[in-house]
C-alpha cells in the first residue's frame, strides 16, 4: 500500500500572510501548522480538544486547532502564537506573563497567550472570575494558574491604559 497522495491545496491567511499548503482531507489544522508551515508554537497536548495547547484564532474566534480540519481553513484567517507580537513588540499578555512569572515549563503558554488575547480583544475589563472561566479550556499543570490569571488581569489593565488591576 502506498502513501496516499490525495493531498489538497489550501489557501489561507496565516498570521497576516497569504499561505498555500497541502493537506490530507482528514488532517487537522494543528498538524498542518506544525508540520507544513513550521509554526511549532502551536502545541499538541492531547489531540482531543481537552488541553487547549493548540489554541489558535480562526477569523478571530478561539478554537482548538486539533479539532479543526486543515481544509476548513480555506479562505480563512488563522492567527497562531507566532503572530501575536507585532513588529517585535510583545502583546501585553505576553509581556505580563514574563513579568509575573506566569509560566514554568511553558508548553501551555502559546495556548494561554492566544486564549487570553481572544478574551481581551472582546472584553477589555474582565473580572478575575471571567478570566478563570475563559481560561478553563487551557490546562496548565505547573503554575496552579495563579500567576497566569494575575498576568492576564494586569495585561487587561495595561491595554485599557490604566494601572495594573
Amino acid at each position: 500500500m502506498s502513501t496516499p497522495l490525495n493531498r489538497m491545496p489550501v489557501q489561507a491567511t496565516v498570521n497576516g500572510e497569504p499561505r498555500v499548503f497541502l493537506a490530507n482531507p482528514g488532517q487537522v489544522l494543528a498538524e498542518v501548522l506544525r508540520d507544513e508551515l513550521e509554526l511549532t508554537g502551536t502545541k499538541i497536548g492531547c489531540n482531543t480538544g481537552d488541553c487547549g495547547a493548540c489554541s489558535v484564532l480562526l477569523n478571530g474566534r478561539l478554537v482548538c486547532s486539533c479539532l479543526v480540519l486543515a481544509a476548513e481553513a480555506e479562505g480563512q484567517s488563522v492567527q497562531t502564537v507566532e503572530g501575536v507580537a507585532e513588529g517585535g513588540v510583545l502583546h501585553p499578555v505576553q509581556q505580563k506573563l514574563l513579568e509575573h512569572g506566569g509560566l514554568q515549563c511553558g508548553v501551555c503558554t502559546p495556548g494561554v497567550v492566544i486564549a487570553a488575547k481572544a478574551l481581551l480583544d472582546t472584553n477589555p475589563d474582565p473580572t478575575e472570575e471571567q478570566v478563570r472561566y475563559w481560561l478553563a479550556g487551557n490546562l496548565c499543570r505547573c503554575t496552579g494558574y495563579d500567576k497566569i490569571v494575575r498576568a492576564v488581569l494586569d495585561a487587561a489593565g495595561e491595554l485599557r491604559g490604566g494601572s495594573a488591576s
Binding site: D50, Q104, C105
Partner: protein, 747 residues
Amino acid sequence: MNAQQEFQFVGSRSIRPDGLDKVTGRARYGADLNMQGQIYGHIVRSPHAHALITHIDCSEALAMQGVLAVMTGADLPEPGNRVLGSGEGAIALRDLSPMVMSQGKVLFHSQPVAAVAATTPELAARAAAAVTVTYETLPVVTDMHQALTDGAPILHDDRFPDGQPKEPTNLAAHITAQVGEPDVAFEGADVVVERTYSVPMCHQGYIEPQACVARMDGAGQVDVWCCTQGHFTVRGYTAAVTGIDEGNIRVTPSEIGGGFGGKTTVYLEPVAIILSKKSGRPVKMVMDRGDVFRSTGPAPGAETRVKLGATRAGKLVAAEVDCLLDSGAYNGNPAGIPAFLATACYKLTDARSTGRSVYTNRPKIHAYRAPSMPQATLAFELVINELAAAIDMDPIEFRLLNAVEEGDITMMGSRYNRIGLRECLEAARDHPHYQSALETGTGRGVAAGYWINAGLQSSATLNVTGDGHVAVLTGSPDIGGSRASMALMAAEVLGIPLERIHPQVVATDAVGHCDVTGGSRTTLATGQAVIQAAEQLVAELCRRAATDWQVEPESVTWSGGAAHHEDKSMDFEALARRAGSMGGPLTVSSSLTSASAAPAFGVHLCDAEVDKETGRTTVTRYTAIQDAGKAIHPDYVEGQMQGGAVQGIGWALNEEYLYDDQGVLQNPGFLDYRIPVASDLPRIDTVIVEVANPLHPFGVRGVGEVPIVPPMAAVAQAVFNAANIRVMDLPLNPPKLAKALMSSETS
C-alpha cells in the same frame, strides 16, 4: 525570614532568559524538531493486561511499501540482574527495559510489544496494526489488596522480596523502620487515634507527551533529541536497554513541557534508536495522550494506616504507620519512603513504620513530586488533626509542640541540621488566612509536609566571550525557571550585569555529567556547580590582573565586577577583551556530588465549601507556606508552591485511575482524567520562609517537591469540617461526597 547573607542579584524577580521564546512560540519542545530524512515510529501495544506472547509476526507490516523497519523485544538484550545507578536512584534493568518493550510476557494493558517505522505517521500506524501478535491470556489483577490474596494471579514467579525462594507472591518489597519501643510508649498515651486512608493511583499529567527524534549513523554514533528531566539519564538508560555503548550516544535536551518526576526515565528513545539502526534513517516518535496515561509510570495508589498517641498536654508519644502501595507491573521502589519518612515532621522517639509495595497489572509506577510522600502524609496529618481536636488544642499549636528542629534524630538515624518547620508553622498561625473567621458553610484544614530533597551530581561550564559576556552551560533541563536562577547566582559571584549572562542547557557531550532535574535538586546542586565555577573564574581573573600589575595574586580582590589592588582596578570586560594576551580563553568548569541537600518543610491552609446537594467541593481560600532556605528567584519558588498545591488539590478532589476488571484504563484522557482548571481554583497565596540551609553557599534548599505533600490532608480536613463527614478514601469527588452527605443525614 532570616537569610543571613546580603545579595545584589539573588532574590530579585528577573525576567527569565528563556521567557521570550516561550511566549512567542519559538521555544522548541520534544515534538518540535525534525531531522532531515526522518521517518516515523509507531508502537504496537498489548490489548491484554496479562498475557504470554507466543508469537509475533511482522512480515505483513514489513512488506508494506514505505515501512522501513520493525522491531520486537527480541532486539533488546536480556536485562539479567543488572542494576543501573545507585542508592535512591538505582533501578534494575529488568524493571526498566520492559516498560520500553516487553520480552515474552505482558503485565499491563498497552505495554509495548513491537514497533514499526514508516515514511509517514499514518503509514506507521497502519503498519503497526498489521503486526500480528499471538497471546495466551492470563488472569488479571489490578487491585493491590486482591493481588495479595491467596490464589491471586502472580505477575513475577521469579521474584522473592525476602530473598527466600519459596512460594512467589505479588509482594514487591516490605520495609520496616523502628525507633524506640512504640508498643510500650503507646501505654503512656492519654489519647490514641488510629485511621486508615487511601489515595488512588494518579498521573503527573504533564501537558507535553513524550517525544524524541533519534538517529544512528553508519559508524554507530547515536544522536537523540528528546524532552526529558535528565538527558544524561536518558543516555545511560538508553545504553543499558539497547546494549549500545553509552559513549556512542549523544543526547540533546529539548525544552520540556512538564515532568514532575515522570520524565526521569525512557520509553521511546531506545525504540527510536533501534528503528533508526535498522532503517538507516532518523526516527521520530511522539506519544499519544492516551498512551501517556496507559503506559507511562503514574504515581502509586496507597492505603496508609496511622496510629498515633498523645498526652493530654499535647505531646506525641508514639506512632505506628503501615503503608501499602501499588507498584504496578514492575518494581518502582515506593516502599522505603513511607517507612523512613512518614513521621519526619515530628519529634517521635518511639515509632514503627512499614512500607509494602505490591505488583498489579498496571503500568510500573514512577516518580511524581516527592514520590510516595503525599500518600503517607494524608493519613498522618489527618490523624494529627484528629488528635489535636481530641485534646481540644489548636492543630498548629499541637504541631508546634511536636515539630522537629535542629538536633532531632530522624527514623533513618540522621540528625537534623538547621530546619524551618517551626518557622513555617508560626507563619501559618500568624497568617491573615488562619486568623480570619471562617465563612458560614466552609471548613478549614491545615497540614504540614516534609521532603528529604536530593543533592546528587551536577556540573557547570562558564565560557567568556571577548566582549565580556558569559555563557553558563549546565546539563540540568530547566522546567520551572532554573536558567533564571543560574543566571542570578552567576551574576552574584561575578558582579556583572544579568544581561551579560546567558544560561543554557546543553547536550551530554558539551558539559559534565548532571543527574536529573528531580529531587528538588537543580537550583541547589547545579546552582552550586555554577557558583563554584564562577568562583574559579573570579580567582583566575584576579590571578591575571595580579600578573598584569606584577603583584601577589592574594593582594587582588574582586568586587563590583572588577579586580582591585590598592588604587588600581580592571573590570570584567577589560579582562575578557585581553584574555588572548593574558593567558588564553577564559573558560572554567566545575563538577560536584552535592553534599548540601537539606530537607524542606511546608504548611498549607485550605478553606473549602461543599455543595450539600451535588457533593461538589469548592476551595475558597488556599495558602502555602514553605521554607525555601533562600529563594534565588522568588517568582519561581512561589510558582513551585502554587503548582504543587494545585496538583495536590486535584489529587484530593478528582484525579484517579479507573480500571475495568480486564485491566483496561477507563479514563485515559484529560476529559475523563480531570486535572484542575483555572475556574476550579482560588488564588494560591504563598509565604516564602527563609531559614538558610547552612550546607549551601547561598542557603538554598530544594523547593519543587514539598508543595505536593501537605495539600491532600489540608483539603480533606477542610472538606470534613465543612460537611461534617469523614471519608476514608480519596478522591473526594462529587458522587462520593454526595453519597456520604446523604448517609450522614439519614443516620
